[in-house]
């Protein structure tokens, strides 16, 4: 109860362990991790910057000026910011509607589960699903535009549809961010305001909304970043009229084979992305207004909304939810008919196609995902553990570096990998390894974050008990720490798997004849206008991802330390 306990209580006293010399196994692990981080995070980024800013061994910004001088690139830059800002505003509004309805609407649990399911769908889908359904609905032969409204020659491509598709794809991030914020605002505060004679709308404006502002800002920034990084939606829906940076960079490289131009466009993309990341981290660090007191919340229904308002909110959510479900139903339908919009005869031909012609992509993707899963899960737990408990020296640096690839738009990471690993000394282009490495280092931060959060709940005395019983640090990690952070491991495994099945923005640059991916095949199908197989691929991916998530959740519930809660998948901002 002396200095030690006092120290752990106030958290101001760094224990003397910090000065303790490092256990050899631990030191070796830290060194190995830094080597990997250097190789797969720092090195590609530096290589990309050097391609962008070094000519003949001399630093120069002439190519940068040349790129910025081109009106189409300037337009792409401004378009990206515009799209990001609009997606941020509309997505946050939609997320707030859902979060507020769930937190204050006193909905039956069944309805809440339905909302959760509808908002989860876009997060676990391959990137083109909304876009495909948009074309099916609003295209020249679209179900709504052509069949329902009888419009001819409508143009689905451009800002509006890109914005709508991105909002529907990314608003769940805002919902997941805002829901705990709104639930955390004690109903008592609102009750208090009522008791002081305020009217409901006034309470909402003067109490609820101000308390939610940090959460709203956070959600806006996350959506802005997600839109900024989005490659798939604009590629399909933006068309030539609305170029954005990720697609411009992609076309610069795949169309013009101009690595340098791609690198410079990536740097342009990097600037707003970095600013948003820093701002967002600032909001998170400052935290929300804490109104959680540790006392059980009020059991009586919160009277924040009138029955009328409640009905309105529910209707709004239901409309959006139904629209999402409609888009997915359309996708399923399109995968089962001959040619959607033209020939609606039932057929399994598209599935036959994806399991024959598309078999290589499916097998490659599954192999890559299955190898990446355990690696990513273990990497996440290891880094999380070292950030939480490792040697003090370099702990924060490790936390920052391991988040870089996650925070950067995928296009940048892909181009950086392409530049760094195309030639000796480390030539990995064309291998599965480069894709696996990209996924592991890009999508493990969910596992890392969860591990850090869990480690903060695991008392240090457990590890000390293990040591006092004769176990080395490696044994302690294996027998005590690892089982206790199993939920984080599963979360890491889950996210790496989902992303391996659905991501494209980085890995589009890394696929090869030898190794390809389902998402890349979907893109190819889209450009060849074979939308049926694209839809079938998407349905397949969604089915597999949901099955694996269900499996992981079942495993999680059976863990001896299970709390019965559903896993926090940490998909936000991915």
């Amino acid at each position: 109860m002396c200095a030690h306990a006092a120290g752990s209580r106030v958290k101001t006293v760094a224990p003397a362990e910090a000065l303790k010399r490092v256990d050899p196994a631990l030191g070796l692990t830290v060194a190995a991790l830094w080597l990997m981080l250097g190789l797969f995070v720092v090195y590609p980024l530096l290589m990309m910057l050097s391609v962008a800013f070094v000519d003949d061994g001399r630093p120069t910004i002439a190519p940068l000026l040349a790129i910025v001088g081109k009106p189409s690139h300037r337009a792409a830059f401004l378009n990206s910011l515009l799209l990001g800002g609009l997606v941020g505003v509309f997505g946050t509004a939609l997320g707030f509607l859902f979060a507020f309805t769930v937190a204050r609407g006193n909905l039956p649990p069944r309805w809440v589960r339905l909302i959760d399911a509808a908002t989860l769908l876009p997060l676990i889908s391959p990137p083109f699903t909304t876009s495909i359904s948009f074309i099916f609905s609003f295209g020249p032969r679209g179900l709504i535009t052509h069949d329902l409204l009888g419009l001819k020659g409508t143009n689905v491509y451009g800002l509006t549809s890109t914005l709508a598709a991105e909002v529907l794809t990314y608003f769940p991030i805002a919902y997941l961010t805002l829901r705990p914020v709104l639930s955390g605002i004690s109903g008592n505060l609102e009750e208090m305001a009522f008791s002081l004679g305020s009217r409901r709308l006034h309470v909402f404006r003067t109490v609820t909304l101000p308390l939610a502002i940090p959460g709203l800002a956070n959600a806006f920034l996350l959506l802005f970043a997600a839109s900024l990084a989005d490659f798939a939606t604009p590629l399909i829906l933006a068309g030539n009229v609305f170029p954005v940076l990720p697609t411009e960079a992609y076309l610069q490289i795949t169309g013009l084979f101009d690595l340098k131009g791609g690198a410079i466009l990536s740097v342009l993309l990097l600037v707003p992305a970095a600013i948003v990341y820093v701002l967002q981290r600032g909001w998170v660090a400052r935290g929300h207004f804490v109104t959680v007191t540790g006392k059980a919340g009020p059991q009586s229904p919160i009277r924040s909304v009138t029955p009328m308002a409640r009905a309105g909110l529910s209707l709004g959510c239901a409309a959006v939810g139904l629209f999402i479900l409609y888009l997915y139903a359309l996708l399923g339908l399109a995968s089962l008919v001959s040619a959607f919009g033209a020939d609606h005869a039932w057929t399994l031909r598209h599935y036959q196609v994806i399991f024959t012609e598309g078999r290589k992509a499916i097998i490659d993707t599954l192999i890559i995902a299955l190898i990446g899963m355990p690696l990513g899960g273990f990497y996440g737990v290891l880094v999380g553990y070292l950030v939480a408990r490792g040697p003090a020296l370099g702990r924060q640096a490790m936390e920052v570096v391991c988040m870089i690839n996650y925070a950067l738009p995928g296009t940048i990471v892909g181009i950086a990998y392409l530049i760094a690993f195309n030639d000796p000394p480390i030539a990995l282009t064309g291998t599965a390894l480069i894709i696996i490495a990209c996924y592991v280092f890009r999508y493990s931060p969910a596992g890392i974050r969860t591990t850090i959060a869990l480690m903060q709940q695991i008392d240090k005395s457990l590890e000390e008990a293990s040591r006092s019983l004769g176990a080395r640090s490696a044994t302690t990690f294996r027998r005590v720490t690892l089982p206790l952070v199993m939920p984080a491991f599963l979360a890491g495994v889950g996210v790496v798997f989902i992303r391996s099945m659905t991501a494209i923005s980085a890995t589009i640059f890394l696929v090869s004849i030898g190794w390809t991916l389902i998402t890349v095949r979907i893109l190819e199908n889209m450009t060849e206008l074979s939308l049926g197989p694209a839809a079938a691929f998407s349905v397949f991916v969604i089915t597999v991802v949901m099955a694996v998530m269900a499996l992981l959740n079942a495993v999680l519930r059976r863990l001896p330390t299970a709390t019965g809660e559903q896993m926090q998948w940490g998909l936000g901002g991915g």
């Binding site: 200095a3 008392d459 005395s461 006092s468 019983l469 089982p483």
Partner: protein, 379 residues
Amino acid sequence: MLAGALSRHLHRDQLPVNPLAIRLDHVSAQFQHRVKGAIAALRDVSLEVQPGELLTLLGPSGCGKTTTLRIIAGFQEPTAGRILIGDRDVTRAEANDRGIGFVFQNYALFPHLTVFENVAYGLRVQRHDAWHIASAVSDVLSLVGLAGYDPQMPHQLSGGEQQRVALARAIVIRPSVLLFDEPLSNLDAKLRVQMRGEIRSLQKKLGITTVYVTHDQEEAMAISDRIAVMNRGEIAQVGDAEQLYRRPASAFVARFIGRANLLPAMVMSVGAAGVEIDILGQRHTLPGVQSGLRRGQTVSAVIRPEALAISDAAKAEAGLLGHVTSCAYLGDKCEYDVDLAGTAVQVTKANPLPSDRLHPTTAVRLQLPVDDIHLLPEE
């Protein structure tokens, strides 16, 4: 309960162990405080624990007792000094290489393992065979009164049961040294008394050298062979319970162990017959010799509240005159606060009868116990 279990189990080969001494040699430790910088948690602590002895580290919060224990365990490194277990210098040895058993304040049971696996943990690490592990775990669980609890999970157990599992887990690996960090502080008062008796009898039977940290002086006195009282990162005094109580080395120890009155006094003469002192204007000759005193020296006279005899001034003639300022009736005793011409004095009267009760403002006389006064040089 334990005695019977012990006699049944003591013939087993794993008990008792070969006890080793622990020595701390000029040990210092520092913490880095973000605001205040380096803070000394331990200052030049030297201490020896005899083989088979139970020594308690006792002191208020922040005194360095837990730091001392963690340094012995190897969870923290001292910034200076040496730690020896037996003849071996373990200052640089890892915690897993010191042959210690550690019982934590929060028990630190592995939440994902059953009671059996918790206790078996250390044996598995030592790669014992399954048969040995099964029999050793079963023996030690019987020893702590938890036979049959093997398949339970820690969260299914009560606090006392968890404490026993933690104890079983620590002793099953036959440590040469057993360390306790406030093991009873999370238990309720009655269970605390029962468990401390069980820990003590177990420790005696096993003969394991033990260091026990507590801030509860009654617990320390009940359980220990010797007590090291700590204050501000230093050892204030080491001794058995009676030495600490009757011959405290400092005002801090006098006040920390039990309750004490420290009355200002002056040495009038030092002779073969004893020491003559002046307390509040009255002269007393204390029998026996206390070294280091000289004539004219001012000292503090340590007098325990229960050593003072209090009586109604109306019925007594001798003694210091004062009056009662407050009285608390506690059943087995009455605690009085008495004002002696401006000096506040605590007095305890055991087994108070209704007729003896003295109420506030009553004039009283206090008889000083000349055989029971301990003198401390003014600090």
